[in-house]
């Protein structure tokens, strides 16, 4: 099915562990696009940035994204990627630590770690891949499943409201926030670049197509191209969304750069200041 030539793409040869490819994603899955966004961001940031980058991920389809990159990477536990990443950043402050999580991984089982990493404003780049349900386990309701949607655990329709990740993380204390879909390749890639350069907790939510489960069960669009078209239709730029009523925003995906602030101190720097202080004074 696959030949050596499929892995001769210049990005694959330059950045990826081609020895463990082809990767495990379903045909038409949007996670490959997210991988490409990350790699294109590094094409533009340059080799130096790439060389000092490490990846951490959780469990779920999204957890596999960075494992194909030829960099130090940790495939941690479901929900716990940010706890590992926080300590890694503290231990090796010169590393760019990029954390890839899914919606259930970050906002469901890992919700506590997510809000506290944002509150601390640790210098991490969180890429949160949202596909609106749990896919690795076969299509169950997640914290971003649309209300009314039928999944394998909401056979009578989902009664639970969604998390709005941007609002959640702004309130928690994150300092860079953006949301895009896989349809918005260039914008998302640019936000990833900005987030990597940003000092503080940065999160980019990328809504991506899961044709296998979200496409078939939630949207009735098993063809990934139809899902991409749907992303285009329902996306509303942040500026325009501000002029729209809550009713008009029902079922829309608001995209754009939501927050970029530099007034909150970054956690790692403060930890090292405490070490300096303790060593100078030999105590309190």
């Amino acid at each position: 099915m696959f030949s050596e030539r499929d892995f001769e793409h210049y990005l694959a040869k330059k950045y990826m562990r081609t020895e463990i490819m082809p990767h495990a994603f379903c045909p038409g899955c949007g996670l490959g696009i997210i991988e490409r966004m990350i790699l294109m961001a590094f094409e533009e940031l340059g080799e130096e940035e790439w060389k000092r980058t490490a990846f951490v991920s959780g469990i779920g389809c999204s957890g596999w994204v960075p494992l194909y990159f030829r960099r130090d990477a940790a495939h941690t536990l479901h929900g716990r990627a940010l706890a590992f990443a926080t300590a890694l950043k503290l231990s090796k402050p010169d590393l760019n630590v990029i954390v890839v999580m899914g919606d259930g991984d970050s906002m469901g089982i890992g919700g506590n770690h997510l809000i506290h990493a944002a509150r601390r404003n640790v210098d991490l780049t969180a890429i949160i891949a949202t596909n609106m349900l749990y896919s690795l386990t076969g299509g169950q309701m997640s914290p971003t499943t649309p209300q009314g949607a039928r999944t394998n655990t909401t056979p009578y329709g989902n009664i639970e409201p969604n998390f709005d990740l941007m609002k959640l993380l702004e309130a928690a204390g994150a300092t860079y926030l953006a949301r895009w879909t896989t349809y918005h390749f260039v914008q998302a890639k640019n936000s990833i670049k900005k987030a990597i350069k940003h000092k503080g907790f940065a999160a980019i939510e990328i809504v991506f197509q899961c044709p296998t489960y979200a496409g078939r069960y939630i949207l009735g669009k098993p063809d990934p191209r139809d899902m991409m078209d749907w992303f285009k239709e329902v996306s509303v730029p942040l500026g325009k969304a501000k002029t729209m009523s809550p009713e008009e925003l029902q079922g829309k995906i608001v995209v754009g750069e939501f927050l970029h602030r530099t007034d909150r101190p970054e956690y790692t720097e403060q930890v090292y200041k405490i070490i300096e202080k303790a060593q100078k004074k030999g105590g309190r």
């Binding site: 562990r17 463990i20 000092r52 490490a54 951490v56 469990i59 494992l67 030829r70 960099r71 130090d72 990477a73 940790a74 495939h75 941690t76 536990l77 929900g79 716990r80 940010l82 706890a83 590992f84 990443a85 926080t86 300590a87 890694l88 503290l90 231990s91 090796k92 010169d94 590393l95 506590n112 770690h113 506290h116 930890v271 405490i274 070490i275 202080k277 303790a278 060593q279 030999g282 105590g283 309190r284």
Partner: protein, 383 residues
């Protein structure tokens, strides 16, 4: 700076911190929980003084993952907890085991189940410390019975975790954590400290989980940023660290290697102390705080002319069958006092293979055994 050589009056919880700093610990993540809180408190004060990092995490699930992250960041790392916190950490403990991450976990046992007896001692977690995380794996668990031992064993725990690339659990209890006793700190040059073995081959020749020779089980461990493109994989993986799906043979190799690296080294890992066992007819096998009252009872029994002795287990896991068998073959009866409903006694029974009568002396509710209780048991089996 680490503690000056000499004698210091310390709590068990404080001795953990000072031992850890001497062992080279430079990262602590934890969450406040009685009776282990003093460890986090003192760490928050002491670690920055030696260039170390302290972080109070949002819960114990995060604490142990942070310790694993810091360990892959190249730092000797630890956490401390109790009761419900230890239950939460079982998840991360499994991750440390499959990724072969050195770390030290202090569990200051309190009475359970659940929130339980918050401020009172127990030895109820001895089996959880061995088997608490899911799946097949081997554990190293040490049980101190004095503040001096807390200090010494904390250093040993770091050395063992670096040697075997496995988490090491120190199973203390509320009594040992809070009692104050003199601790003798030897000159630093007399203390053995094991440093992490890093790969001595260039990255392109590095195979993360393939030991160099048959009979070797542990491989060197690079840190993030060292240039080895490590994969810290929680999914079952092969010698290259690549996840293996349903490759039964590769999974079999990995699981057995994780088991053998501990169980085949039981002679090197096991620590114990013997008291008056040479001519003993009755042996008390004890560990942790229980060993303190047991020893008193054994001495009282000797005064009464009963030939009693004691085997104190310092390493609880891997269980040292050989030593217990040796004792069982020599005495007619064994008493096992424990602050639980009788847990390690099952191991003693299994290992002694019917060679001696084994009596369980249980104690729950948050009290140590009174020496008279142990003495009465000795008298009963000595008849």
């Amino acid at each position: 700076m680490s503690l000056e050589p000499g004698v210091h009056l310390m709590q068990g919880d404080e001795a953990v911190v000072e031992g850890a700093i001497i062992a080279g610990c430079r990262f602590f993540a934890g969450y406040p929980i009685t009776p282990a809180t003093e460890i986090a408190e003192r760490m928050s004060y002491r670690l920055p003084q030696v260039g170390g990092i302290f972080i109070q995490m949002e819960d114990e699930l995060g604490s142990i993952l942070a310790v694993i992250g810091a360990s892959w960041g190249g730092r000797k790392s630890m956490t401390a907890t109790s009761g419900p916190g230890f239950s939460l950490m079982q998840e991360g403990l499994g991750y440390a085991i499959i990724t072969e991450t050195p770390l030290v976990l202090v569990n200051v046992q309190r009475g359970g189940p659940s929130t339980g007896l918050v401020t009172l001692p127990s030895q109820g977690d001895v089996m959880q410390a061995r088997w608490g995380s899911h799946g097949d794996y081997a554990s190293i668990v040490l049980a101190p019975s004095s503040v001096q031992e807390v200090f010494d064993l904390t250093i040993k725990a770091f050395n063992l975790s670096e040697t075997y690339r496995n988490p090491v659990i120190i199973l203390a209890d509320e009594v040992i954590a809070h009692v104050r006793e003199p601790v003798k700190v030897p000159p630093l040059e007399e203390i053995e400290v094991v440093e992490r073995k890093k790969p001595d081959v260039p990255p392109e020749q590095y195979i993360p989980y393939l030991p160099k020779k048959p009979g070797e089980w542990v491989t060197p461990m690079p840190a993030f940023g060292d240039g080895y493109n490590v994969l810290v994989e929680s999914v079952m993986h092969d010698e290259f660290g690549h996840r293996i799906g349903t490759d039964h043979a590769a999974a079999n190799r990995t699981i057995r290697r994780l088991w053998y690296k501990i169980e085949k080294n039981v002679d090197k890992i096991s620590m114990y102390e013997e008291y008056m066992l040479d001519d003993a007819e009755v042996a008390v096998i004890s560990y942790g705080s229980s060993a303190r009252t047991s020893l008193r009872a054994v001495r009282e029994a000797r005064k009464l002319g009963i030939k009693a002795g004691m085997l104190k287990l310092i390493t609880l896991w891997p269980f040292y069958d050989k030593k217990v068998q040796e004792v069982a073959s020599q005495v007619k009866a064994i008493v096992v006092p424990e602050m639980n409903m009788g847990k390690m006694v099952r191991e003693v029974e299994r290992a002694s293979k019917g060679m001696a009568e084994v009596m369980s002396l249980t104690k729950v509710g948050g009290l140590l055994h009174h020496p008279d209780e142990v003495l009465a048991a000795i008298k009963r089996v000595a008849r």
